[in-house]
Symmetry: C2
Subunit: 476 residues, 2 copies
Amino acid sequence: MENAAPALDRAGQALYRQLYEYFIREIRTGRLAAGEKLPSRRRLAADAGVSVNTVDTAYGMLAAEGYVEARPRSGYVVCRLEARPAAPARRAPPPAPPRAAAPRWRFNFATSTIDTGLFPFKTWRRIQRDVLAQDPSLLNPGPRMGDENLRAAIAVHLHEYRGAVCTPEQVVIGAGIEYLAGLLAQMFRAETFAVEDPGYSRTARILANAGAQAAFVPVDSQGMDADALAASGARLAYVTPSHQFPTGVTMPAARRYELLRWAAAAPERWIIEDDYDSEFRFDSRPLPCLQGLDEAGRVIYIGTFSKSVAPAIRVAYMVLPAGLLGRWQAMYGSYSCPVSRMEQQTLCRFMESGAFARHLARLRIAYRRRRDALVQALHRRLGGAVRVYGAHTGLHLLAALPGAPGEKALVEAAAARGVHCTALGDYRQGPVPADAPDAAVPAAVLGYAGLSEGQIGPAVDALADAWGAWLPGAGG
Amino acid sequence: MENAAPALDRAGQALYRQLYEYFIREIRTGRLAAGEKLPSRRRLAADAGVSVNTVDTAYGMLAAEGYVEARPRSGYVVCRLEARPAAPARRAPPPAPPRAAAPRWRFNFATSTIDTGLFPFKTWRRIQRDVLAQDPSLLNPGPRMGDENLRAAIAVHLHEYRGAVCTPEQVVIGAGIEYLAGLLAQMFRAETFAVEDPGYSRTARILANAGAQAAFVPVDSQGMDADALAASGARLAYVTPSHQFPTGVTMPAARRYELLRWAAAAPERWIIEDDYDSEFRFDSRPLPCLQGLDEAGRVIYIGTFSKSVAPAIRVAYMVLPAGLLGRWQAMYGSYSCPVSRMEQQTLCRFMESGAFARHLARLRIAYRRRRDALVQALHRRLGGAVRVYGAHTGLHLLAALPGAPGEKALVEAAAARGVHCTALGDYRQGPVPADAPDAAVPAAVLGYAGLSEGQIGPAVDALADAWGAWLPGAGG
């Protein structure tokens, strides 16, 4: 075959690669047909002004990919390719998806952030460094349900802080609550899950993605309505008893036993207890979790280190009842643990050394002061017109303002003053009942973990400016 | 109410907690009935020999949980509890599940491990330390598809090393290939996926867990059989074209175009390209991936840093075709990225600084030497009786021994000499066809990334001892 030497761009890509791509174009467009020979290595090297090694590399790639094949004494010959797929014009690169909304809020009452100033950077870095230096085997795959020592540390922590009763073998490590909830949703794909309304919209999304059904069950002043749960036909109930999200309700004992009785009353009924921010109880010691009261083995407990360490450390955990371990093993026993072992081990040493307990104690003091500052400032600036709910535990509260014209107005007026918050109604999942209390009394959800203590006063000043017209006697 | 003071164990749990649990027992067993009053704070403090503060804490917990309520002038009164659930005896803690099998192999040819001695500990630790020191905001939640700079670094890497064509907006970060494949399986739950046979058993497991169907399609000497794919009725094909797992076949260009043509020939057909160890190509430059040849936008590319950095760093990624971004966003747009941001940022700086490229170059040299040592030792010790397949790329190869009585015998004889390897047939997914080549010629899968260069010779000596009886002229 005689062929003009390809024009190579000496300032461009590697020369072997330009040669390789040149021949692919020639073959794909049919200018080099099946059975034709490529130029000899030396000829092409001379014509193109490159080394023979460069040609060898390009030809080797073409041969390895099956564009050409080496024939004894003939050199390389073009292979027969199947007809190419009908090629629509290559789509333009897709437009960038909308960025995560990141307006520069003056004050952000989001429920998902923490104050990074409280993080024990020095301790964490020291442990992290030691972990990697001391055990290179951590680079290789670890146990599939999570590293054993971390699972043991979590079992101890849950017993001490949450009154949970479990062995390390029941603990599964996952990359965030969404990951674990997603696997549970698959496990019970054929079933209906009762979910709290209002509640986490992500739970309904996860269920829908797995093909499971969600039944929205109203939350009253004690948490998920047990009669409505019984009437829903659901086999699983996904609840947040410590600090219902977003209403802040703590489920009292009577309701807890009602739920446990519901679960025990029929086979294959399970309660999923999402205990997302339970370490932060301010007005009494932390309450035992539902799992700790469950004697029938029907509670699946889920927790996370998002609030107690950091949201960006994607470590969550689940306690499976003994009756589900075999089923878990059958479905997920071959899955690798999705959390980096270095982070598992850093966290484990953080817990075992006592640093976690000290950190939690410090966090509780700091967050309690913020809670106090927030509640006091709301009452001082908004007077008796504001009602505060759900402030005894967790890292957010509800501020309801009966005089406001609606929740949208509350949130928008705050945003106009540079304050971000969400409305209770934003978390409503099913249709809004005509007599929904949150429809009657507009309420804002205020997460305060991301604001420093010093920001709380000015943030509430801004809220008071935003909402002042709706206070009694404001003459608005 | 008159009541004997509870007997407290001064060496046991915190006193407030013992009091709290004492009263829960009294209430749950009915010894304290609804409506009865608790002892006054001062009386109980005096009787039990504890401080009033301790009593307050215990009573506060009981009240917060709804066991008792405070009544003005009456102190605390026991609440009415719903009947408790019928309580079967608490299950004993479940037995510990079988540990990950960890016999002390002399030589381990597993395909999942790497040689940790090659890891750039110093560089990684330095970057890790700097990342955390320089940007505390990394503790808070990041973009849901992954940090933007990491996605950009991956897009550049894929273009340079794999010939992929994509924008950073098409890249999704996930916690391992299983995580990403699981989300895809849910996305196409109603469909049938063609999977390679033999192939990764985890793929079939992930599909079954999501409720999707798997059609097992045979692998021939060029990869997935395109005619069998077309006949399978599948809408999705899950393939490993660079280095088919476990046969080691590299799919030639003609077969690649056949697959692309299949995908483009009907709406809603997609190819999932799992490029799990593609950075390691020894006998020519790395081959462009199927995604880079796809002009119809039908290839979903999945890769991982398990082999190129470490298995324990659970970072994988996916390149979505533009036509699937909207659907992804609708299903998973509210999911948090499951990978720790600190690890995302450490990896990102590792890539951006050029350290990753240097590390890959070192790995390729080291692994090529091991591959060479392994192939040479196999030929030297087993002579012409052994056939080696799939050694040009990736981190494992196939050693077939026609004279062996079967694969089970191959693996067991090796195990008896302290050598761990798996059989090709272990990865067979569907029924074994009578004329399956791997049934006719017993073959072992030898992963060599976890063995040092110096271990290769002795490991093959052990294999030769194990398999020597089946060599021609061995007189066995």
